[in-house]
């Protein structure tokens, strides 16, 4: 059980992310570099979608993208070019984190439920991670859409 809390973003979040991008965006993201851990205060990108886990394990997951990558991603998702960050784009990013976290949660050995996704928007966004339950991140990219980061923190309830 503890391994679920230690090893968060690999492989279940990665598999969930790849499945979502392949099936719903028609493009396959690949991992860039190594998984890394962060606690304390740290920066995230301009568009960050966060969703909470509840149940036998509690925590949260994020997908964090630049505005440019967000626009490209939702243009691809909706087959309609997006030129500015608006409700349509943010709803799309929320839906992506909702689907990815739903599939990731199903791969936990814990019974977990999902909250409603929330978007943090703007430059200089920062998160805080407890040292006992730090965030773990991994960078992913597709040639077509660019780079983004997925991250998660989880502990037994």
């Amino acid at each position: 059980m503890i391994s679920d809390c230690v090893v968060l973003v690999e492989p279940r979040h990665i598999i969930a992310t790849v499945n979502t991008y392949v099936k719903m965006l028609g493009t396959k993201p690949e991992v860039v570099g190594e998984r890394y851990t962060q606690s304390g205060i740290f920066s995230v990108s301009e568009v960050t979608a966060l969703i909470g886990f509840s149940g036998e394990a509690v925590g949260a997951m994020i997908i964090s993208l630049s505005e440019e990558v967000s626009l490209k991603t939702i243009s691809k998702f909706l087959y309609f070019e997006q030129t500015e960050i608006n409700n349509e784009v943010l709803d799309g990013i929320e839906e992506i984190v909702n689907i990815v976290s739903g599939e990731a949660a199903a791969r936990f050995s814990y019974q977990t439920g999902l909250g409603l996704p929330t978007i943090m928007l703007g430059e200089k966004q920062r998160l805080h991670g407890n040292e006992e339950h730090p965030w773990q991140f991994i960078k992913m990219k597709t040639d077509e859409l660019g780079e983004f980061i997925i991250g998660a923190t989880l502990k037994e309830a």
């Binding site: 099936k23 349509e88 709803d91 689907i99 739903g102 599939e103 199903a106 439920g113």
Partner: protein, 122 residues
Amino acid sequence: MRVLLIDDSSTMRKIQRRSLSALGIEDIDEACNGKEGFEKLQAEKYAYDLVMLDMNMPEMSGLETLTAVRADPNSNKIPIVMCTSVADKSQVMEAIKAGASNYVVKPFTPDDLQKKVQKYMK
């Protein structure tokens, strides 16, 4: 064929609409939560051939909406396809017991969705 899409995500409604349009289905109404969807069903005198119903919604969940639709004798025969995330597995079983006709799991491809819908095309 007339379809009612009930989903709180405008993105998912657009994606479903596009997949249905590719099948030649253009008579599509939308509702952004279960309460609005059930009211739409009643206001339109139950004249739908298929309801696509999201599971996880505010106001009135998919399961609550399904239960209300099936309890109404005017709508208890309308096919309902639940749209659910992988994490809702136990809720899928509940939905099937409550009268859901079928379900599609997110993430899905346009083809996945169209195959489910084609079963109900006349």
